[in-house]
Symmetry: C2
Subunit: 527 residues, 2 copies
């Protein structure tokens, strides 16, 4: 057994089922080993941003680390921005990055690069395999690091010779093997906040003393169980339940405890948060502006508001919320649940954020996964869909656009029985359109709506927000209509069936067609 075979065996034994891959020469032994250990499913992506974004989507929906296979420093580099997003979403990722054979590095061949340096800005943990004999131990350590609540990015560097060298009899054992099995249950590995009772008591006092209090959450707090506890807290204290502007995963829809996300535009966010004199955070940070804007504050809460931390960013949010509910004597209360809502759809109406939202809200099937990279078009979508059938809502958390198509891809791999609806801005979509090919190849059950406003619309707003004025050059840099992108052609070119729609009736009809099939379908909405 060579190092690669040992590595793959150990990963499979530890519970790894899927590997998102864009391999090269230095990973060929790993790839050959995958053939022998057939329990790991390999998903080929045509660019590394797709690999890392899909691993993120998989991690969010499976509760397991998303595993990637990447080709040296440049391959990892291509995947960096979606690893940034994964990190900000607190997703679990294990990157396996092939490198030249150890003895080949000194020759500085063309692909030689500082892999550790590339990995550092996005990784919680980086280690290099030293020999075939220590591959398994190192890999399991990496997997364990990735599988650390609330989700870490672990990068394992795999020199080609450690993969192709035979493992000696003494190297095949692994001390960790028995202890480490990843499950679909990362939240079980959460750390109880230090001095949980004190924090719960402080948060309770804050909630009871405020004239207007908000409980701001993200991460595990936004799971069904976390939200149940939050709902009891609201029932007991009247506090508003808020979510961060962007969240890795949010359980929502009819019959669930509803929360409201802090708006993205800085002025809206400031007005939204202005009424609160007490902000209690659970896994979330005190809210900050996405960007700095001249003359506007970076912190979005009132200077006079009191901020109390119930749970830090890496603490067990569910335990903290349940402790707070206990402290308030609210554990037996029945939270108010979101009622089902059906928005009327105006037949044949032109497409805009409001009319699209109505169609989407009606169409969301039970237990759907909604991936939201709708950017400017999607600002009202959360509001209009709060009473839709129960679903999970996945967002781009690091602001590095180009995460939507890959997230949808990974989520569909993780949950083959659930429908995925991807809400995709056109400008952002162009960073990672290659994901459509993987969707076709794996016949993933994803209906994608591309909002074809043919501009970086968000930058038009932002230019104003930062107090700059646009002339022809600036306008040109924000317009994508010269030439117009044809998303039907682009999707077809990668084997995904696609249509164009121009009004609500067409959209409604085509969404139904997309959701009725089991495979990818793309709808280009001409705005």
């Amino acid at each position: 057994m060579n190092g690669a075979e040992h590595l793959v065996t150990e990963l499979a034994d530890a519970g790894v089922e899927v590997c998102f891959a864009n391999p090269g020469t230095s990973e060929m032994h790993f790839v050959a080993a995958l053939d022998k250990i057939s329990s790991i499913r390999c998903i080929l992506c045509l660019a590394e941003g797709i690999v890392t974004g899909a691993a993120d989507g998989y991690a969010r929906m499976s509760g397991k680390p998303g595993v990637t296979l990447l080709h040296l420093g440049p391959g990892l580099g291509n995947g960096l921005s979606n690893l940034h997003n994964a990190r900000k979403a607190r997703s679990s990722i294990l990157n396996i990055v092939g490198d030249h054979a150890t003895y080949h590095l000194e020759y500085d061949a063309p692909l030689t690069a500082d892999i550790e340096g590339v990995a550092k800005p996005v990784s919680h943990w980086i280690q290099r395999c030293e020999s075939a004999d220590n591959i398994a131990t190192t890999a399991l350590a990496a997997l364990q690091q990735a599988d650390t609540y609330p989700g870490h990015i672990a990068t394992l560097i795999l020199p080609a010779d450690t993969a192709w060298t035979e493992v000696s009899p003494s190297g095949t054992g692994s001390t960790m093997q028995d202890a480490l099995v990843i499950t679909h249950d990362l939240y079980q590995k959460a750390t109880i906040p230090a001095s949980l009772e004190d924090r719960a008591a402080a948060a309770a006092r804050a909630l009871q003393s405020g004239s207007n209090s908000a409980l701001l959450m993200t991460g595990s707090c936004l799971s069904e169980r976390g939200l149940q506890a939050a709902g009891k807290i609201r029932k007991s204290t009247g506090a508003s339940l808020l979510a961060q502007t962007a969240n890795g995963r949010l359980a929502r829809g009819a019959g669930r405890v509803s929360v409201t996300a802090v708006p993205y535009p800085v002025d809206d966010a400031l007005s939204f948060l202005a009424p609160y004199d007490q902000i209690i955070t659970a896994c979330a940070k005190s809210p900050v502006a996405f960007f700095a804007y001249p003359g506007k504050p970076s912190s979005l809460i009132q200077e006079s508001a009191v901020h109390t931390v119930l749970a830090g960013e890496t603490d067990d949010g569910i335990a903290a919320l349940e402790a707070l509910a206990d402290e308030l004597g609210a554990s037996d209360l029945v939270p108010d649940l979101q009622a089902a809502e059906q928005h009327p759809v105006e037949e044949g109406a032109p497409l805009n954020a409001d009319t699209i939202g109505q169609v989407v809200a009606r169409a969301i099937p039970d237990q759907a996964i909604v991936v939201d990279e709708a950017i400017t078009m999607g600002r009202n979508f959360q509001k209009v869909t709060r009473g839709s059938r129960p679903h999970d809502w996945l967002q781009i958390c690091g602001g590095a656009i180009g995460d939507g198509f890959p997230l949808a891809t990974g989520a569909a791999i993780a949950c083959p029985q659930r429908k995925v609806i991807a809400l995709q801005a056109d400008g952002s979509g162009m960073y990672s359109l290659q994901a459509l090919w993987t969707q076709a190849r794996e016949n993933l059950d994803i209906t994608t709506l591309v909002f074809s406003n043919r501009s970086y619309a968000i930058l038009k707003h932002e230019l104003k927000n930062v107090g700059a004025t646009a002339g022809k050059t600036a306008d040109d840099l924000m317009d994508l209509d010269r030439p117009a992108l044809d998303w039907v052609a682009l999707a077809n070119g990668m084997g995904v069936e696609a249509v164009q729609v121009t009004n609500t009736s067409e959209l409604e009809q085509q969404m139904q067609i997309g959701l009725d099939r089991s495979g990818p379908f793309l709808i280009e909405l001409l705005i």
Copy 2:
């Protein structure tokens, strides 16, 4: 005048004419400043790998630094692999990377990242602007660093507030302004090798003592002037003139001094270099295998061969070659020049590496720029085109595939009067197909041939080379035919006209159509 306006003014005054851009909110003041200083042309690219690859192509063909505008750490991250290629090609690049306002960084907003960390693996020089007043000085220092022979990657980090803050009267002056004007002539800034005469004498002795000598070159040595000197050396000594396997830019074709590149496949390279007992390098390194392969050496030259360094990697290659010619008393010799060759094209023949090469060789127009990311399909293209009309040949130097479309884009911007022919493998092309949109938008004169073998063909060879065996999983990871990519649809989706061809007659006809127009055209070759 704010910092951004001062920066743009100074860059324009220093000779910057083009900026390849994918900006975001933090760069809006820079973008607004571009409107006021209209002499800098801004080229929008829809993903950052296109920005950096196009800047590389521009730098190689213009002799000036390619300037990029990128959005924070993730934007730079997306551009990393083509910066790696640019670095290995020794291209001049100035990256301007926007960041949050200085005071906003402590809030760790979603897009906050370690930009210096991301930049480090690919940059020779990194600096952060500290205030609006020091923007110009820092930017000119960065430009000067980029414009250092043989080409450096300089990364300038531009916090948003240094861009939007007004420059104080004392800050508008720049001490470097008068000294720094970049010209289309980076080779003039080369450093004469230390002890030039001694090196030339040693190289002359080596050439005269060897029974079979090779002069291995890259960089400036492969310019027309460098090759003239090399041709005299060959005439005098009978040495073989070799080029690296991949080179940033190579002047070639009928009437020029012809060189032969070291083959890529390791076994071919070993056989190719085996006869030489004396290897003299000029700007090139002693040749090494692209990857390590079990049981095969990393160094490609015979252990008994003597390696003499005429010029180091960053030395003035032209001066060194001319000094060597002098030393040999060969300065007045007339080098043997490549004769024009016309390969017959078999009408209606199926498309393969040989038949395609014949068509391409005939079609290359005078002074064309050929961008070669043909990978496996292109192994014989250099041989068959050596007697074509004079042209420049640009290659991917860092092995990070996905450089072809962007290089062609940047080269066409640099040389609007010259035809660009892009030879593009399909697998590699998928990493950066978004460049086609920029080609359409700017109506760039590029005829692209996509070799649709629907596989990562190179990996099939490499799997064998590393001694691994493929099963179904491995085969699957190298086949791109499920589903087949439709390059005509993909190109059309981005506004580029395209056709599919299946034999030599169709290819010849469509290449003529492409070359006769002045705008982008894509030909998908079904192999």
